[in-house]
């Protein structure tokens, strides 16, 4: 079952190799492409394996869970890992054409690999403290990427990003500490089992709030999203795209994980809070975007607004809503990363991200205009693109759950998203090039490196839209697993029906094995014991 560890090991090894070739940019570039390519291949393999065989579980160091750390890939975790692989691979190729010489020389590629390792680790771990550690790994890497270049705006953005994310991590640590104090275990499956046996669940809900606040900061949900629009438009665009695709989604994934597996004691309270948060997140994000006139800032605010749709799927907590949420994550990561990549090409062609300075891109590069239109219309939810089906499932789930106000918010936000996208389209692509703006031509090789990933991801958006059924089936599989925590518990710890709790059963088994082995092992034990006594002073 080593396949579940590969998506973590490959980027770690690739990162270490890039550090070893610190002097050689060419070697680092090759390692970046090959490393992320291998990562993508390993995650796809993992997803296929999870689909055919069910949960893939690995007990690290052969220490049985719940005592050792386990890596667990369920369908949701594997889907997220594949998306991390896709984004990582696309961004690595795009970086070859867009990253400045200075950035490459000061450790861009090692940090890229480290970030991907942290993200995949967070998606695949089955241990709540281990989740905290992986989140810190990806945070440290993201800090480094965010300030690479050292401009004033980057410093200002980084301070807000770093401060709020550290507070969020410390809240998570507080929550983990309290959970350990209550349950005496950190294994998520064991926790889920123990929490399901508790009668008085008041304290669990209190701790759940700590997790909610912590992951909501990371997911940039209302009212805790302020760090995101303040920082995401400052680093080099490849970094922005990587962050936009993956970082907030770690928070969303963690919310999905803990609020379907661990904290389902008081759904009426916790998930209602999440639902209100989702509504306000959608609305504030899209209104913030309407007020902006900088390409990447508009897109940053739209990340916030789209996060609302995903956690709305979680908040409604019906099978269809979870399907919608997972489908939305799949659609969103690809579309949002792609839009940032397009904004980077527009920047290279016109030398600015300000919509006022952009213009005439439709005339000078019609291919780019088409490549913008696909993800932009998908983001707004135009059929037959991926965003339409994502929104359709979620809205239908909300109607079935009879939460009509959130349906209204979701549809209104879709309309305002269309407004923002049309604003970018008319300003950057349709209007004539403003006077005095230099038009830069791209050489052929660089063009291929920039356009290749954008085309690939636009194609994926089309495929998700046109062949929505297989993607829907995938999301349905993950939702089935999320709605029934006993599947997860059983996969990690074995059948809980034997009456003993998982940890008790392991102790029981170990004691039995010990008794059986005691007869023939006594001589060896005795010899070892004597040896130790002999050495003692």
């Amino acid at each position: 079952m080593v396949s579940v560890a590969l998506p973590i090991l490959i980027p770690l090894v690739a990162g270490a190799l890039s550090l070893a070739f610190w002097q050689s940019q060419i070697a680092q570039r090759w390692i970046a492409v090959i490393g992320t390519g291998l990562l993508l291949a390993s995650t796809v393999y993992l997803l296929l394996q999870v689909q055919h065989e069910g949960f893939v579980v690995m007990h690290m160091g052969d220490w049985q869970g719940p005592f050792g750390i386990v890596l667990v890939a369920d369908v949701l975790g594997a889907i997220m890992a594949v998306l991390a692989g896709i984004t990582g691979f696309a961004v690595a190729i795009y970086s070859l054409g867009s990253m400045g010489d200075g950035h490459e020389r000061f450790g861009y590629y090692p940090l890229l690999h480290l970030l991907l390792a942290g993200v995949c680790g967070a998606f695949l771990t089955g241990d709540i403290f281990n989740l905290y550690v992986w989140v810190e790994v990806l945070l440290v890497a993201s800090f480094g990427l965010l300030i690479l270049g050292g401009e004033r705006a980057q410093m200002e953005g980084a301070i807000k990003y770093v401060a709020l994310n550290l507070v969020s991590s410390l809240l998570l640590l507080t929550g983990v500490g309290l959970v350990y104090g209550m349950a005496g275990t950190l294994n998520m499956a064991d926790l889920a089992y123990k929490f399901s046996q508790v009668e008085d669940t008041g304290m669990i809900t209190v701790v759940a709030m700590l997790f909610l606040v912590s992951f909501a900061i990371k997911a940039a949900a209302f009212p805790l999203f302020f760090w995101l629009p303040a920082s995401y438009h400052t680093p080099p665009v490849a970094v922005s795209a990587l962050f936009a695709g993956l970082l907030t989604k770690v928070g969303v994934y963690a919310l999905f994980r803990v609020f379907t597996l661990l904290f389902t004691q008081d759904v009426g309270l916790t998930h209602t809070i999440i639902l209100w948060g989702a509504g306000f997140t959608m609305l504030t994000g899209v209104l913030g975007a309407a007020a902006q006139f900088e390409f990447r800032r508009i897109l940053s605010f739209h990340i916030v607004s789209q996060i609302g749709y995903m956690i709305m799927g979680l908040a409604l907590y019906t099978p269809l809503a979870l399907i919608g949420g997972v489908f939305y994550i799949m659609h969103h990561i690809i579309v949002k990363a792609n839009l940032f990549l397009v904004s980077g090409v527009a920047y290279i062609l016109r030398g600015s991200y300000e919509l006022k300075q952009l213009g005439g891109l439709y005339k000078s590069s019609p291919v780019l205009a088409m490549l913008f239109l696909v993800p932009a219309m998908s983001l707004a939810g135009m059929p037959p693109l991926s965003g339409f089906f994502a929104k359709f499932i979620i809205v239908r789930a909300a109607i079935e759950a009879e939460s009509y106000w959130i349906v209204g918010v979701a549809l209104l936000v879709g309309l305002l998203t269309l407004f923002s996208m049309v604003k970018i389209w008319t300003e950057a692509f349709w209007k004539p090039t403003p006077e005095g703006v230099a038009i830069i031509e791209l050489p052929g090789m660089r063009r291929a490196m920039l356009y290749g990933p954008i085309m690939g991801m636009a194609l994926m958006t089309l495929v998700i839209g046109l062949y929505a059924q297989p993607i829907y089936d995938l999301a349905e599989q993950s939702a089935t697993q999320l709605m029934d925590p006993s599947l997860y518990i059983e996969a990690v710890l074995g059948d809980p029906a034997s009456g003993l709790s998982p940890s008790e059963r392991l102790i029981h088994d170990a004691a039995q094995a010990g008794e059986a082995a005691a007869g023939n092992g006594a001589a060896i034990n005795g010899a070892a014991g004597n040896g130790m006594e002999g050495e003692a002073p």
Partner: protein
Amino acid sequence: MEPLMAFVVGGLYAAAIYLLLRRSLAKLIIGLILLSNGANLLIFTAAGLSRGAPPLIPEGLQTPDAVVADPLPQALVLTAIVISFGVLAFAVVLIHRAYEVVKSDDLDMMKDTDR
């Protein structure tokens, strides 16, 4: 022992949040340091404090014969200390660089990216 620790942890959290709400960058960092120390002590306390009971299994037995201290919280705290040391070292360097670039310690002077 636990009530005393609870007050210490509560005091650390309160002081940390007060400092985080100040405008000065240096106080922000001190607040984060206090918060991480508070969180570490909280893990330690929440898992239960016990003295003079090392988690050792006597010779010839498979399980400990009496109540022993739980060694895991110490491993967690150690990990958390290392991580927070790393990220806080980064944060200190970051505010130093930001101070050099912005020429101010005041968060209100850092609104360029919010416009």
